[in-house]
């Protein structure tokens, strides 16, 4: 299981590939890999967004993410999990978050990755500040509940 905070742009596909290759214990064991990638949009709430700054609480972020992974592990038989989150200045089309989960069967992979993302959204101490095309800056108020349609 790994949790990683990146201050530079990251390639989620490379992260997954490297992690899976290095996690030799699960070779031959996993039948399902569920991947979620969150990417920055160039629009939000009807406005064009130029860039975004992601602030976090170093130390607490890692602690909370590790806790969330442990909680998921207690609920589903995870073979492995990887969480990568970006901080700092982010541009549209750059990945913000990666959650990858390896399990024997698909149901557990889908459910655990969903749980990890929703828990991350509500508990991990990250804060987004958008810079609009007009150069106006604004903090996002709160995350929406991902289970609501």
């Amino acid at each position: 299981m790994a949790v990683k905070i990146c201050s530079e742009a990251f390639d989620p596909w490379q992260e997954i590939q490297h992690y899976q290759q290095s996690a030799k214990d699960m070779a031959g064991q996993f039948g399902a890999t569920s991947i979620f990638i969150g990417t920055m949009r160039d629009f939000n709430e009807g406005d064009d967004v130029k860039s975004m700054t992601l602030e976090h609480y170093p130390g607490m972020t890692e602690k909370q993410l590790e806790k969330i992974v442990i909680e998921a592990r207690q609920q589903w038989p995870l073979l492995d999990a990887l969480v990568v989150h970006r901080v700092g200045e982010i541009l549209p089309n750059e990945p913000i978050v990666l959650v990858a989960v390896w399990t024997s069967h698909r149901g557990d992979a889908f459910d655990a990755s969903r749980y990890l993302m929703e828990a991350l959204k509500s508990k991990a101490p990250f804060w987004k500040k958008e810079r609009l095309k007009s150069d106006v800056e604004r903090w996002l108020d709160k995350n929406t509940d991902g289970y609501q349609r």
Binding site: H85, I96, W127, L140
Partner: protein
């Protein structure tokens, strides 16, 4: 005996209070809400603000201890 408490502020709250940290000294018992009020001219802790002690989420009525780091921040917006 007096307690030393470090207070940290993040994101929009840091901009609102105009600083990122405070160092406080308390005599006797204090809760997380007391720490906020002491650092912010007696004001009550706003309802929407979250609190953590030593990087774990806590209730605003929980007690603080000597050497604790108390963090205040707005709802999180990562992911």
């Amino acid at each position: 005996m007096s307690m030393s408490i470090k207070v940290r502020y993040f994101a929009s709250l840091k901009e609102t209070v105009g600083r990122s940290e405070d160092d406080l000294a308390f005599v006797g018992l204090a809760t997380v809400s007391d720490v906020w009020s002491c650092a912010n001219a007696g004001q009550p802790l706003p309802d929407h603000i979250l609190a953590a002690v030593n990087m774990e989420y806590v209730d605003r009525n929980s007690a603080v201890e000597d050497g604790d780091i108390v963090a205040f921040f707005p709802p999180v917006t990562g992911g």
